[in-house]
């Protein structure tokens, strides 16, 4: 999910505050597919990603495109507005109760001696690695991917050599949203969610992206691993309720000593 956020920021310099709420919609789509069509979320994530791609495209075309060049605070206001609309639409459509998608895969565990491995988490991790890899291949090995990177590096230059920057932006936003849609569906059996969950998801992904470096795919990936390992170790060695303290202390340290993040490029 952090990969999607970093992609959107890296390309358009727009901070997507509706990211967590988009993810919650990905979760609800997985829930609907599982309840109505009996589709396991580990398969249904593809549909969830496609739906969020369409949503991302629509949000970009209708709203974000108008403010790409506006100051950051105006972009933030707009994206917070989108977040509010998404959250309350979910509240109206699905109600306030926490939900969880049931999947037989998420309920099983493998025991290697005294160590147990949660199959649901393992599969989610595997698919996340695979998706990040595919995205990387797409960005570095296809024409559209190269165009996205060009527009990210220098929009004016990209325009000069004949790139349809608006289309590229829309695609990038759509792909970013699709990543978060897939992520939402994949964690829906592991994490109970309700409409209000979006904000905490947004904050977690900002934390990861800032630690990893804004706009860096590898950074988002490593940042995600770093934050979760830090939280788990914090819960073991300190009090469990202090684990968020550990990850946010990490954030402050990074901001103090490496403001661009671990893999981010320094601002020119």
């Amino acid at each position: 999910m952090a990969v999607g956020l970093t992609l959107i920021f890296g390309v358009m310099r727009v901070i997507n505050f509706a990211h967590g709420d988009m993810m919650v919609w990905g979760m609800y789509i997985a829930l609907l597919l599982s309840r109505r069509a009996g589709l396991d979320p580990y398969v249904g994530f593809v549909i969830s990603a496609v739906a969020l791609f369409a949503l991302g495209l629509a949000v970009q075309r209708g709203l974000v495109q108008r403010i790409v060049d506006a100051p950051h605070e105006m972009q933030i206001l707009l994206m917070l507005g989108v977040a509010l609309v998404l959250e309350n639409a979910a509240l109206m459509a699905f109600g306030p109760e926490p939900e969880r998608v049931r999947s037989p895969l998420a309920a099983s565990t493998i025991w290697l001696g005294p160590v147990f491995v949660d199959v649901g988490r393992l599969v989610t991790f595997g698919v996340a690695v695979l998706l990040t890899l595919l995205l990387w291949l797409f960005l570095f090995r296809t024409d559209l991917g190269r165009a996205i990177r060009a527009a990210a590096d220098n929009p004016y230059g990209a325009l000069v050599i004949g790139t349809d920057v608006r289309r590229v932006y829309a695609t990038a936003f759509g792909i970013g949203a699709a990543c978060v849609g897939a992520a939402g569906a994949l964690v829906s059996p592991l994490l109970p969610f309700q409409p209000a969950t979006g904000l905490s998801l947004s904050i977690t992904s900002f934390n990861i992206v800032i630690i990893g470096g804004m706009g860096s795919l590898l950074g988002a990936f490593i940042g995600g691993l770093l934050v979760s390992v830090a939280e788990s170790l914090g819960a073991v060695f300190l009090a469990p309720s202090l684990k968020e303290l550990v990850s946010f202390s990490l954030l402050i340290l990074i901001l103090l000593f490496r403001p661009a993040g671990l893999f981010g490029k320094r601002a020119p």
């Binding site: 109760e97 926490p98 049931r102 565990t109 109970p192 905490s200 819960a235 009090a239 469990p240 309720s241």
Partner: protein, 421 residues
């Protein structure tokens, strides 16, 4: 012009009232036709689900009272409900209390959330409107008013509560734990308390630990493990609990954290005699049962619960199920139903709509009509609380919440220790 119109309307109304109360003594005709009760709950916002249940419970009770002929001691006066919404915000709760009193509310009932109740108390004390708290557990709500009346800063207490207080939850839970262990003939030693570290979870955990310390039972609380609420993952917390080799896990959850905790306990194969909660949401609601299914089976929780051994409770529960689209008659709908019935009893004895007469009748309450599991009739002590309002121990058996303790109210015998998977 305007005054003549009002006069005509008043005349018409009086005539209608006169026709309705033909045969009753003259002074009654001068009184309002209805007794207005402000019913305030969080029907929107994060606690909308329980708030709506409370409102429906109060409405059903008022309809039943009116259908049975209203308040007989007041010439068949009907109850009229003025509805309010706190949105679980203290300032809104206060404003709603004022609004309804301005609209003519002669009594207030509500408000589910302790913070909202605390915000409403100054209003009712100032405006001298009797306030019956149907649900809100924090001890200071009534205790603070009682103290200022005792010290002479205020003349009369207008706030009364028919709900177990926060501190009594902890004491009762410790008591039930001991009684159930004894009845089952087992002696678990090591109990691990796991709790959400929000305000509610901390108070509840602290109350339980303090009550345990005071009672000195044969079992120990070996560790208290908090988690940030809402949690994103509880695997480390659970492995920490597992390493302590507990006999019992005592969870204090919220609906979202219960959905993480119970599957995690199963996945990590934590071998225990049972999961016994000192009292918290998330372990018995219809939505949770649908989401957690067999993970909730055999879970015990201490919670205020309707007494389904009472045939009247079963009848009301059936009607509630129809009216709410299949929901269970539970803590919230039950206590607000009882509160409205209690108000009717108070009015019958007050024989007047005067606020001080109502308070005098409230103080002398000795009412047995409640549908909730209780230790005896409703009586208010010097703080304005009803010490006979108690939680019950319920257990999920066959995916249905069932009262298993106290013995007098038990629908079935508990299953403890739980069968090995």
């Amino acid at each position: 012009m305007a005054s003549t119109r009002v006069t005509r309307r008043t005349l018409l109304k009086t005539a209608a009232a006169g026709a309705a109360v033909v045969g009753f003594p003259l002074p009654l005709r001068a009184q309002a036709k209805t007794f207005k009760i402000g019913v305030i709950h969080p029907v929107t916002g994060p606690l909308a689900e329980p708030g709506q249940a409370c409102r429906v419970g109060a409405q059903m009770a008022a309809e039943a009272i009116n259908a049975a002929g209203g308040i007989k001691a007041l010439g068949g006066m009907k109850l009229e409900l003025l509805l309010g919404d706190t949105q679980t915000k203290g300032d809104v709760a206060r404003a709603e209390a004022e609004r309804l009193i301005n609209a003519g509310a002669q009594m207030l009932q509500g408000p589910f959330n302790s913070g909202d109740a605390a915000a409403m108390v100054p209003v009712v004390q100032q405006r001298r409107v009797p306030f019956l708290i149907d649900i809100a557990a924090a001890d200071p709500i009534t205790a603070n008013v009682a103290k200022s009346v005792r010290e002479g800063q205020q003349k009369l207490q207008f706030v009364y509560r028919n709900f177990p207080t926060g501190s009594s939850f902890g004491r009762k839970a410790v008591q039930y734990f001991g009684e159930i262990f004894k009845e089952a003939g087992v002696s678990p030693k090591r109990i691990v308390v796991m709790h959400a570290n929000d305000l509610f979870g901390q108070l509840q955990a602290r109350g339980f630990v303090a009550a345990h310390k005071a009672a000195k039972p044969a079992w120990d609380i070996v560790e208290v493990i908090p988690w940030p609420e809402p949690p994103s993952d509880l695997s480390t917390e659970v492995s920490r609990a597992k390493a302590l080799k507990p006999d019992i896990i005592a969870p204090i959850t919220r609906p979202a954290s219960a959905q993480l905790l119970l599957p995690e306990l199963r996945k990590q194969r934590v071998e225990i005699m049972g999961i016994v909660g000192p009292g918290s949401p998330g372990l018995y609601e219809a939505g949770q049962l649908a989401a957690l299914k067999e993970d909730l089976e055999y879970v015990l929780t201490s919670v205020p619960w309707p007494d389904f051994k009472n045939p009247k409770t079963r009848a009301v529960a059936e009607e509630y199920r129809k009216r709410s689209g299949g929901k269970t008659f539970d803590t919230n709908s039950g206590y607000s139903y009882d509160a409205m019935m209690l108000i009717a009893d108070i009015l019958e004895r007050a024989r007047s709509t005067d606020a001080e007469a109502i308070v005098a009748a409230m103080k002398k309450t000795d009412w047995q009509g409640q549908l909730m599991v209780s230790a005896g009739p409703v009586r208010f002590n010097e703080l304005g609380d009803n010490p006979n309002a108690i939680p019950a121990m319920i257990q999920i058996l066959g995916l249905r919440p069932t009262v298993v303790w106290p013995k007098e109210s038990a629908e079935r015998k508990f299953v403890f220790p739980r069968p090995k998977a």
